[in-house]
Structures are given as structure tokens and as C-alpha cells.
Symmetry: C2
Subunit: 305 residues, 2 copies
């Protein structure tokens, strides 16, 4: 069974609050490691409604210094402190967010048992900004009214799978299995060398997820996101509001779909909906006509890659 | 009919978020002038669920620099800007809040069409910090872990009511009515002087509301709040957790009730409930046994004074 790679939508509205949407926030669970993407107001309030252990979040990736993407951060940081967190928290984002994070720490977090580290992301470079054994997180330069970057989360290849029937056939002991997975061949008691490839099947296909909010269309994204499993892309407006979208540094649903098409992505999820759309199906239909595998984000939605 | 004096409870939880409560926030409507008391995270999200026009809020009164009382402020200020506000906003609170307000303005509110003024409140003095034609707002020095003050909102006396039958009897024209209300006598065409007291009934009784969160018991409150119509007082804990309450600078339900009793208040509303109480009736019963006219605050509750 493939290991976990799940996206949980906490909020997918845009700047103006509505009865329907919370501002931007997502939790990504890669093999039980939790990342937070943006942290709009209300994130910690929604926390209690998800089945996730948010204390396991060690890295937060913020896209830009607009309130609807970061005003949940002070409450999130404080509450983790109140709940006795000791593990450090790394907050990644454009350097324009540093004063805000520092102000919150200085004024509200004096007696916490854990440290918050702010790590500035260069919003003009597409590069790895975090990696561990399970994943790489890449920055995605975006084009908004202020310095802004999206994030691409790429699973690292796992180990090959052991072929149970071969293990039984050669009577290979348990202790040797991890070595074979790691690439060692097996020598039988008769001296016969069995290549590790014969004892294993290839590792699972690596999966990837791109988070692009907020931005006007960025041409290079199609290349950076080539073959990605899922793109979350803002679709603040319908194509009929194209001028408005460009004016405020946003995209239309059609533009989001064109990106997914050119990137040959497997799926597209639209979000960051303007408060003007009571029925967001207008955005879905527009995108669907260009890229059929499109869905609308919604609070509480869980996507399994 | 008496003019409006209403309290709307937006949030009455304490620092840890729960499924049930939002953090501290109230709107007070005095003769259609709206004040905000504290501004916990989620205030602007709840905004859409109340029937109030929050743009009419010109003054915010913050008690202290703990996140559960102020983390809704950045979103509140920004959203009013997005909605095109032009009227200035006055934020009153302990000077410890100045850096936070300044940081938010500097980093997120550069292109707003309205001004935010921070006005420091001396948390050691009981004095008038704001007044207009309708009301006075008094500071209430409280005793918490950090500089903290509550607020007493006192209606100013209104004008006397005109006695319709006397107006008809003396055939007094419309233009004279406001003068009579303001204290002028009326002279008939025969030269008879009718004292204004005969033409009016006394103005409505002035009403008052006290907001006391967060605090340990403060002895002088009984005097400052003598005869008040309603006290909102924090009751974070039950009396069985008295040690905990004192340790964290909070009150028990019994202590809140004792204040209401000594102040000879008309009513008491308990709030700022610890997340530990699934059933807050334990707090209500405790307070009721000392001061019967006690109710529990709850999100969405509206109290008409």
C-alpha cells in the first residue's frame, strides 16, 4: 500500500470573509509528516474540527504578506505553546513576513517552551528550500502584487518492495531484507548470488503537489510542474473578470486550467475564490472546458494522491 | 421606547480554542453607535453571521496583550480597509499593545483609505477614556498577569420625553419641541408661561455595562460598578480550581458572583470559560447560589439592557 500523501483544505476563500469560506490554509500530510501551507485567520479554530494532530506540523510555508494568508499564524504559534509544544517550528516565507513573525514572537510568545525560526525564501528563485528523507519542497516564483511564491512538494523515491515469494524461495532471513531493499544482492548458502532486482519490485511512483496562490499566470510554471499529480491554483475570478484579475495580480479559472493543460498535470484544484461568486460552478465549468480533471476546493475536503 | 443599549457576544472562550467557543469579542450597541470590546481571532469571520454593520464601529477597546483578546484585530482592520472604509478607527488598550498594532499597520495596511489611531489606556487609573453625546467609557484597572483593564460603558442622560397631550392642549408647534426638551419654558399666545417640566416626563434611566476580562478579584470594582445594569465578568474556573485561577490571574465563578453581589448589580454574565468545562452549568450553578441573576455568555447571545 502506498504511503500517505494527502492534502486537507482548511480554507480556500480570498481576502473578504464570507459565510462559506475561511481564508487560505492547507495541511499536507506526506508519510505522516505534516506541513502547513499558508495560515489564514481561523486556522487554529478549524484545527479542532480536523482529525489531524497539528502539533506534528514542523514546517509552515507562507506564500506572501497579505493578511488572508497569514493572520492565523499568531494564534497558531501561541496555541501550540499553550499546549506544551517543545519541538521547534520553522516558518518559511518571503522576507517581507519577517517583521510580522518577529513582532508576534516578541509580544505574545515570551514564555513558550519551543522555538520559532523564520527562514526567508527568495521569491525569485525556483529551488529546493527544504528536504528530508521523505520529500523535497521547492519554491515556485509567482507573480502577485507583492513578493510571492508557491510551493511544490515532491515525494522522494521510496525503497523497492520485497517480493515475498522470492524471499520464501531463497529462505532469506528477516535481517537481510532491509539490505536487499537498499540494493545489496543476496548470496545463498550454495554461493549463488541473486541480484537484488530479482528479489524486489520497483518502488512506488513518486507523487507531487503544487500550491500556487496568489498569482497571475506564470509561464515557467508549466515546465516546473510538468507531470505533477495535482495543482492547486488560485482562480479568484472567472474569465469575464479578466481585467480585474490582472489588475489585482490574480488568475481566472481559464488561466488556471491552461496551466494544468500545458503542464500535463494529472489533476487541478481551483481555490481562492472571490466573495462575488455565490455559485462557484461557473469557475469549475470554465476550467473544465479546457482541462477536464478539475475540481473545486472546499473547506474540509481531503485529497489522497 | 428606550434607545438601544445592546450587547452582542461574538466570543466568550478563553485561550485554548474549542469547537464551542470563539475567543473574547463583543459588540456593544449604544444608540446605534457600535463599540468593539476585545477582538479575538475569528471576529471578522463571525461578523458576517451577525446582523450588525461592523463598519459603524469607530472605537475598539482592548483589555490586554494576550492573543485570545487581540488576534482578530489584524483581519478586522484589513477587511474594513478592503471594504472601502474611510472613517478613522480608534483602538484603545494598554500601551503593551502599541507595537502589535503598529506592526500590523506597517506591514499589511499600506493602501487603506482610513486611519487607525492607537490610544494607550493607563491600566492603573479608573477614569473616563472616551465620551461622546451618548456615553462615557471608563477604564477599570484589573489584576491579571500583564497590564490589563476592563471597561465600563455608561449611557449619558437622554432628553426628557414630550407629553403629547400637553403639546396638543397648548397647540405647541413642532419647531418648539426640541427647545422644550432642552429645558426652555413655553409662552402661550396669552402670555402664560408653561414650565417645561409640565410639558415633559423625565428622561429614561441611564444604563451601564461593565466588561471585566481577564482578572483576579479586584476589591474596588464593587464600588466602581455600584448599581450597574450588567457585569460581564470572567469565570474561567470553578471554585474547586481556585488555586489554578489565582496562579494564572483569573477568577472563579463564585468570585464573579461575589463582585456582582457587593456591587448590587442588576445582572451578571459569566464568560471566558476554560476549555476544560464541557458543561459550563457547573459555573452557572456556583454563581447562582451567591447571585441569582446570573447567566452564561454564549456566541450569538444578544442582551438588551
Amino acid at each position: 500500500m502506498a504511503q500517505k500523501f494527502e492534502i486537507h483544505i482548511i480554507g480556500c476563500g480570498s481576502a473578504l470573509p464570507t459565510k462559506k469560506h475561511l481564508p487560505s490554509c492547507q495541511v499536507v500530510d506526506v508519510r505522516d509528516k505534516l506541513l502547513l501551507l499558508d495560515c489564514g485567520e481561523g486556522a487554529q479554530l478549524a484545527w479542532r474540527r480536523t482529525g489531524l494532530n497539528w502539533q506534528k506540523i514542523t514546517h509552515i510555508f507562507l506564500t506572501h504578506a497579505h493578511g488572508d494568508h497569514v493572520f492565523g499564524l499568531p494564534g497558531f504559534i501561541s496555541t501550540m505553546g499553550l499546549l506544551g509544544r517543545t519541538a521547534p517550528l520553522y516558518v518559511h516565507g518571503p522576507s517581507t513576513l519577517r517583521p510580522f513573525v518577529q513582532c508576534v514572537i516578541a509580544n505574545f510568545c515570551q514564555n513558550m517552551d519551543y522555538e520559532v525560526h523564520f527562514e526567508a525564501v527568495d521569491t525569485l528563485k525556483h529551488c529546493i528550500i527544504f528536504e528530508d528523507r521523505s520529500m523535497e519542497v521547492w519554491s515556485l516564483p509567482l507573480n502577485h502584487r507583492v513578493p510571492c511564491c508557491g510551493y511544490l512538494i515532491k515525494e522522494k523515491p521510496g525503497l523497492p518492495h520485497i517480493r515475498r515469494e522470492m524471499i520464501d524461495f531463497y529462505d532469506i532471513p528477516l535481517w537481510a531484507i532491509n539490505r536487499i531493499k537498499a540494493g545489496e544482492d543476496w548470496t545463498t548458502t550454495d554461493g549463488e548470488v541473486i541480484p537484488h532486482q530479482r528479489l524486489t519490485t520497483p518502488p512506488d511512483r513518486v507523487r507531487s503537489y503544487a500550491y500556487c496562490s496568489d498569482t497571475m499566470p506564470v509561464e515557467q510554471l508549466a515546465e516546473w510542474l510538468h507531470g505533477v499529480d495535482l495543482i492547486y491554483h488560485e482562480a479568484t475570478y472567472a474569465e469575464s473578470e479578466h481585467t480585474m484579475a490582472a489588475r489585482f495580480g490574480h488568475s481566472t479559472a481559464s488561466e488556471a486550467a491552461q496551466l494544468a493543460h500545458h503542464a500535463q498535470a494529472a489533476r487541478l484544484m481551483l481555490g481562492h475564490f472571490s466573495a462575488r461568486y455565490d455559485d462557484e460552478n461557473i469557475l469549475l465549468e470554465e476550467a473544465n472546458s479546457i482541462f477536464p480533471d478539475t475540481i473545486l476546493a472546499s473547506e474540509g475536503l481531503k485529497i489522497v494522491l
